[in-house]
Amino acid sequence: MGIVSVRRVSQVFFFAWFLWFCLVSSLGEQYWQLRGWPVNWFLQLDPLAALASLLASGSLYSGMAWAVLTIALTAVLGRFFCSWLCPFGAMHHFLGWLATRRLSARQQMQKNQPHAAQAIKYYLLLGLLAAAGAQTLHRLAGLPLSLGGAAGWLSLLALLTALAALTVRRLWPQPRQALAAGLATLALLLGLCLWTSPGEVIGASLQSGLLDPIPLVQRSVNLILLPALDAAAGKLWVAARHYQGAWLIALVFGAALLLNFKVPRFYCRFICPLGALLGLVGHWALWRVGRREAQCKGCQPCATRCEGACDPFRHLRQSECVLCMNCLDTCRDGQMTYQTSRSAAGEVPLPDLSRRGVILSLVSGVVAVPALRLGGLVGPNWSPALIRPPGALGEEQFVERCLKCGQCMRVCPTNVLQPTGLERGLEALWTPSLNMRIGTSGCQLNCVACGQICPTAAIRPITLEEKRGQGAYANAGPLRLGTAFVDRGRCLPWAMDRPCIVCQENCPVSPKAIVTREQYSVLARGKVTGRQSDTLSLAGAALIPGRLGTGDYFLQPMSGDAAARRRIRENGADNVNLLPGGAWSPAEGEAVEVVVRLQQPQIDPSRCIGCGVCEHECPVSGQRAIRVSAENESRSPKRSLLL
């Protein structure tokens, strides 16, 4: 079996694992359900997700440490990830093959020529990392360093310095220029560090997930492919899954896939910021693809199937080589090989990055955060409609960690957890929030699945005890996502004299956070004109026959005396029959009132946890008469409601 066949087996193998992990992220105890499968493994292997969240949040959370392995292997082997492991890469690889398989060798070669636009992904990477790292220097300046922490930070610093030095060396080839540029950058950074103070506006924002291929493909398969397939098959869920704003996720996913018909691996070559990061790391690789001899026959079939468009025939673009090994397979002369020495025909370590481009993308990244934040959506203009899942960090910390991978929305058993749309700002795009109108129920009381799956602890892995405020958390009380508010203008018992209280019935906390206020509302008045035991003839009250016999309607004297009130058993258009018993017996000629007994719901904000079951169940099905908003959510002390 040739190396290319081995690569194909590896791609299919890891792609299948990826799909399997997406499939088994369902709650349950069956083997095909979530019971210990490492469903976050691909996200954890993703060094961009790890590095960006590390820069933004200052910590390498739990399983994200797997990314170190990817970095290490890339530093030794090159960009193996892209052609051997990446599930998104496998999709592009396959579609690119599909699109070009009928083309002549010459046309294929044209499609796989290096292109100046391959530099774009590096700019995107730098911009995204700059946005994530805007606060890192501050963190370094103020960090109480432990030994382990110091070692970690120093190595990160060393890695970044090395990458920066490399960039600087390429951009400013003359040593004096490079030194000046380096010093200027250092001064600028130190100045930024000393004279600005981080806060709500100047901060870090983790936006790499918008384009990072692993979160992108995870989100797309979780929120688009699986729900669409299961809508037809009906195997995974009892009710069809819905995801708000799914069209935009589908559009990005679909466009990324279809662009393969323009250029094979379009996304990998021009956009993928993870590919750029791996290219930077991998261009030092100990083993690399290259030519044995400076001269060859010049037949060029090596360039026909080159996945990375890295020009193996001429000067091999080392950072662009994705180790597809096609050139080894197609070279008729055994010239192409995977070896420890550089390509005999010469190499280009990195694409042409322009000085201006690099500065522009770094500055754009740093400036993007205040630009995004000046709208105040993380600060005073926070959206009360943005209900974060239980255990979510405060908003500033949350956007430093959320990868927008959609794992929480995939695992949520009720489907209430939704990708936030653009209406809450670009920063919140595709981050999880609750939409009580979607799904089978609000946030279920006895569930902490989202925090358990979250790969970066943007949603903390809370226990049921912490969520419910039991045991060790009894003093803290239950976690609140927000507070429900009754809209008295829409609520049936408040606005329309109709009994209801579905919300109170479904409130899952004990004692209930929805209490009711008893109210008797007058529906009609009349005069008793005749009487036969418990059946009274009424004049002046036009009644709908049969409607008052439901148990909710009463007759009372005009005084409204509660003790005298008697329940109506049945009625005609001008008569009512009362249930026997009762202290009051209306006399002929007496004026009486027909009243309805209402229980009007009221929220006890000290008990309400904002789970939204009431909103989900409210029979006012459009704009609900009881709605949860984020006031009083546990994660933001500034948004507390009560004294």
């Binding site: 709650l27 499609k111 279920q444 009381l445 004990s510 909710d552 229980q599």
Partner: protein, 350 residues
């Protein structure tokens, strides 16, 4: 990056076409045009819709739930005082002459449980899984060919069946759990009813079923006063069923018209006496030591009400159902078989 563009313009013919008529070419084109005209005409004629959609939309064919009661067993009731559910069920069935008098060989049984909330069984908001398991086993040993367990819960169905233990108990006892899939719902109308008209019900699990048993706990319910055997059928409704809470006492009576069960079993061994119907805390429960089995769901609820410290008169839906001839609100008139498994033997309901 350059790319080979396919030639969009056909090369010019070597010789310009002759002006004038080419008969063969004309006939070919005439045939093509004629077929196109004919196809367009046929399509328009065949699919022409002069009216447009009606206001009612495309109605599904209505379904009707059968009458699963056994005439010779009408008005039977057994009341067991006990602190353990499984022995209570065994004793109660024995007092009614054994489950064999209700379930015969080859019967397909549907058990409607209350799986409404995703809470663990010890909180008593849902049908007790041990009791359910025992009932399924008894049905199977009475000769039932198939025992289906179903409900359309309020919380997420999969979570409900998992957390309440109902899913596992069903599987372990050899029953078949049927979750409320969208395709299982069909519209039905209750004859003589006012509310259940052309309303979707969970019909799928009822297909081919010959016997129906309702199995649910006694629970406090703020709106209706109590949730017992008749209210348990609420879990068969689909759609935005919550609007029926505006007239809760009528809908419960109509539910008793919708389903004529073979048997109902009301679990008041432990009752939820406050914060119903969700509960949420063991403090909301009280040991009331009573299991009620009856072929008369109205009578079962009438007795169940007393476990919550209420009288049948406090619950208008009981009167509503009795008035409709669905059963008796005076449970004593059925002369129930009374069994006590407690040492003291004192009957608390007397």
């Amino acid at each position: 990056m350059s790319e080979d563009k396919p030639d969009l313009i056909a090369p010019a013919p070597a010789q310009p076409a002759e002006p004038g008529m080419d008969r063969r070419d004309f006939l070919r084109r005439a045939l093509g045009a004629g077929l196109t005209v004919a196809a367009a005409g046929a399509l328009g004629w065949g699919l022409y819709d002069p009216k447009g959609p009606s206001a009612a939309g495309l109605a599904q064919a209505p379904v009707k739930l059968g009458d699963y009661s056994i005439k010779s067993q009408a008005g039977k009731m057994a009341v067991v005082r006990a602190s353990q559910r499984v022995p209570a069920l065994q004793a109660g069935l024995k007092a009614l002459g054994g489950l064999e008098s209700f379930i015969h060989k080859g019967d397909r049984v549907l058990i409607k449980v209350n799986a409404g909330f995703a809470t663990p069984p010890n909180l008593g908001a849902t049908t007790n899984p041990e009791l359910l398991g025992e009932l399924i086993k008894q049905c199977l040993s009475a000769g039932a060919q198939r025992v289906v367990v179903t409900d359309n819960p309020i919380n997420d169905p999969q979570s409900c069946f998992a957390l309440t233990g109902i899913g596992q108990a069903t599987q372990a006892a050899g029953g078949v759990l049927m979750p409320p899939l969208e395709r299982h719902f069909h519209p039905t109308t209750v004859e003589g009813g006012r509310l259940i008209r052309d309303w979707p019900v969970l019909y799928g699990p009822f297909e081919g079923v010959t016997k129906v048993i309702g199995l649910c706990p006694v629970k406090d319910h703020h709106r209706s006063g109590a949730s017992m055997t008749m209210k348990n059928w609420y879990g068969l409704l689909g759609g935005r069923r919550n609007i029926f809470h505006q007239d809760i006492h009528t809908i419960i009576a109509e539910l008793a018209m919708l389903v004529r069960p073979t048997l109902v079993i009301l679990d008041g061994v432990v009752s939820m006496i406050s914060n119903g119907p969700t509960g949420g805390s063991p403090d909301d429960l009280k040991a009331t030591g009573t299991l009620i089995l009856s072929t008369d769901q109205v009578a079962a609820d009438a007795l169940g009400a007393t476990l919550l410290g209420k009288t049948p008169a406090d619950l208008p839906f009981i009167g509503n159902a009795a008035t409709r001839g669905l059963g008796s609100s005076d449970w004593r008139s059925l002369n129930p078989q009374e069994v006590s498994l407690l040492d003291q033997g004192a009957s608390a309901w007397a």
